[in-house]
């Protein structure tokens, strides 16, 4: 069987403290319900600078400058121990500041909803055109020459037309208009989230082209897997982010669609991409997702209460290239896919059996045949103070405990197993962003260098948040070293069949003699 391969990845972060303050759902709700709250008053003292966000260990791991396991050697709290040689440029991507990002939002806006103050627009247009990645790969930067406004015009749109203000260092630099007068699916609130997701997704896609051997016109299909929904009141989440993002980077030969399953959607999308490539439907697929403004500062109250900076100040995004077997890139084992079935049950034990043990056992392997697991890679420095625990660590302990129950490991080996198969969480708590996928860039390097042979990527999703079902979701897939054999899998051709039939008939005829 010829498996598809993981050809390249890109990971990006956008540091957005003003969006955290004004558009993070927790802060927005607080402003509406308790505008004089102590939490809101405390926020300015807990915001990080761009430089602090860049020097933060987990962010450097996300864009590929350090391995997540190197975080074990950095004293915690990591936010008090910035990396000295940190950079906005990473092996797998980069980090952007908020002043460029509003320009990005305007450049991806096809309906003149984003209005920027004229001098700011001119300045950001120059920076983005000069940017070696955005300037090279985004084909819609001419949007930054359109409809600049004076600040009083922007203030009027906010006061009279329900536009959302865009702040930079607390100073008004623009606004985002609603897309319809009374359609609840096209309010300025919804359009803000959608354009944030689109712009950050398009940033990651540009980085994928900049850092990997794939060109925009070489993409056949895009699968977008964020947690946003775009549409109008008659089709509230009709889509399609994928094509809208591909358009920004000039992916003129691609079509695409969106896949949704909360935080599990990226893993579902990877399985879909692998299957489509293996089936020969498409040759080059990009799985991608932008970030979520709603989740910025989501655990902010706990962070402020415990004296931490507001660490949820970055939008995460990624793009992954899945292609045909090239004989060297790590393969995606489409024959070893774990799934949490509707009938699997909701107990953690049942979930881990279904998504970790079942696929391995079905393939004649066991938990110990996977070198490294990557599931829910949320940064623990964000989740532990909020009472949600160390999520990656909990997953590793569950996998090790499942191994103990199956007598693969001894009970006293558990801690060692956890260390061997795991790594500290390093991804921002942006829902779909941490779900196993952030490790793929590091996984390619580890597999190609021979450090590991096989990894399992696990996506998990809390479907009950949508109030349609109480079911949980989970899916896993295996990435492993390429053995170099590229079987074209064409099967038996017609001439061979004719030959075989002729030989059989001859044998039959001979037997009648």
């Amino acid at each position: 069987m010829t498996f598809p391969v993981l050809k390249g990845t890109a990971y990006t972060l956008v540091h957005t403290p003003d969006i955290l303050v004004h558009e993070g759902k927790l802060q927005e709700t607080e402003m509406r319900n308790s505008p004089d709250s102590d939490y809101l008053k405390a926020i300015p003292d807990h915001l990080r600078s761009f430089d602090d966000a860049v020097a933060y260990g987990p962010n450097q791991a996300f864009i590929g400058n350090i391995h997540p396991r190197e975080l074990r050697n950095i004293e915690q709290p990591w936010y008090e121990h910035p990396l000295k040689d940190a950079s906005t440029e990473g092996k797998f991507g980069s980090m952007m500041s908020e002043d460029l990002f509003y320009g990005c939002m305007k450049a991806v806006d096809m309906f003149e909803l984003v209005v920027l103050e004229e001098s700011y627009q001119k300045e950001v247009a120059k920076k983005l055109n000069d940017d070696p990645v955005i300037g090279k790969y985004w084909v819609t930067l001419d949007k930054l020459t359109e409809n600049p406004a004076k600040i009083d015009e922007i203030e009027a749109l906010i006061a009279d037309k329900d536009a959302k203000p865009l702040y930079l260092n607390n100073k008004l630099v623009g606004c985002l208009k609603r897309a319809h007068e009374f359609d609840a699916a096209l309010t300025s609130d919804v359009m803000f989230e959608n354009l944030v997701s689109k712009a950050s997704g398009a940033y990651a896609l540009a980085e994928l082209f900049a850092k990997n051997d794939i060109k925009p016109d070489g993409v056949d299909y895009l699968i977008e897997c964020s947690e946003e929904g775009c549409g109008d009141m008659f089709q509230r989440a009709g889509g399609n982010y994928a094509k809208s993002i591909g358009e920004i980077c000039g992916c003129v030969n691609a079509t695409g669609s969106d896949t949704r399953s909360f935080c599990a959607a990226p893993a579902h999308s990877m399985v879909e991409a692998a299957a489509l490539v293996q089936a020969g439907v498409y040759s080059n697929i990009v799985v991608l997702a932008g970030g979520s403004s709603a989740k910025l500062g989501m655990n902010g109250k706990d962070h402020v209460k415990k004296g931490l900076p507001l660490l949820e100040d970055c939008l995460g995004a990624f793009a992954v290239h899945v292609g045909e077997n090239d004989g060297k890139s790590p393969i995606i084992r489409t024959d070893v896919v774990g799934k949490h079935k509707i009938g699997s049950g909701a107990a953690p034990q049942a979930i881990m059996q279904a998504i970790v043990a079942d696929p391995l056992e079905h393939a004649g392997m066991s938990i110990k045949d996977v070198d490294v697991y990557s599931a829910e890679m949320q940064n623990p420095e964000i989740t532990v103070p909020a009472g949600a625990g160390d999520i990656p660590m909990a997953n590793y302990k569950m996998i090790a405990a499942l191994g103990v129950m199956k007598k693969i490991f001894a009970r006293d080996e558990m801690n060692q197993v956890v260390e061997n198969i795991g790594m500290p969480g390093f991804a921002p708590t942006q829902g779909h962003i941490p779900s196993g996928i952030p490790f793929l860039g590091h996984a390619i390097e580890m597999i190609e260098s021979g450090e590991i042979h096989r990894t399992m990527i696990i996506g998990k999703g809390s479907l009950f948040l949508g109030r349609l079902t109480n079911l949980f979701d989970g899916i896993s897939f295996i990435v492993e070293a390429n053995d170099g054999k590229v079987d074209d899998d064409k099967g038996v051709d017609k001439d061979e069949v004719r030959q075989m039939i002729a030989e059989s008939m001859k044998k039959f005829a001979d037997s009648l003699k």
């Binding site: 107990a347 049942a350 625990g389 405990a401 129950m405 558990m414």
Partner: protein, 100 residues
């Protein structure tokens, strides 16, 4: 504690009364379990949800404390793995604190 769950527990208490009701927790973190136990007994300490300032006086138990009440085979199949994963003693200690 989730605001929606606070309302559900409040509604159930209104319907059945606190004497015939106890809360079974399945949380994985001691602090979060303690917070839930506190919310259903003396009220929401974060003053964010429907139980802010409402003393339901319900007793909360973590599932780990109810092991003897459950069919051992079911417990083994559903919970035993998590006994190895979570800090069982810390969780029980935290939850017990709010039962007085």
């Amino acid at each position: 504690m989730d605001l929606e769950n606070q309302q559900r527990i409040k509604d159930l208490t209104d319907k059945y009364g606190k004497d015939d009701l106890l809360v079974v927790l399945g949380g994985g973190e001691a602090e979060a379990c303690g917070l839930a136990a506190e919310t259903v007994s003396t009220g929401d300490p974060t003053f964010a949800g429907p139980l802010a300032g409402v003393q339901l006086g319900l007793k909360a138990y973590h599932m780990f404390e109810l092991k003897d009440e459950v069919d051992p085979a079911v417990y083994e199949e559903q919970i035993s793995m998590m006994e190895m994963v979570l800090d069982k003693d810390a969780i029980i200690k935290e939850v017990q604190e709010y039962r007085g």
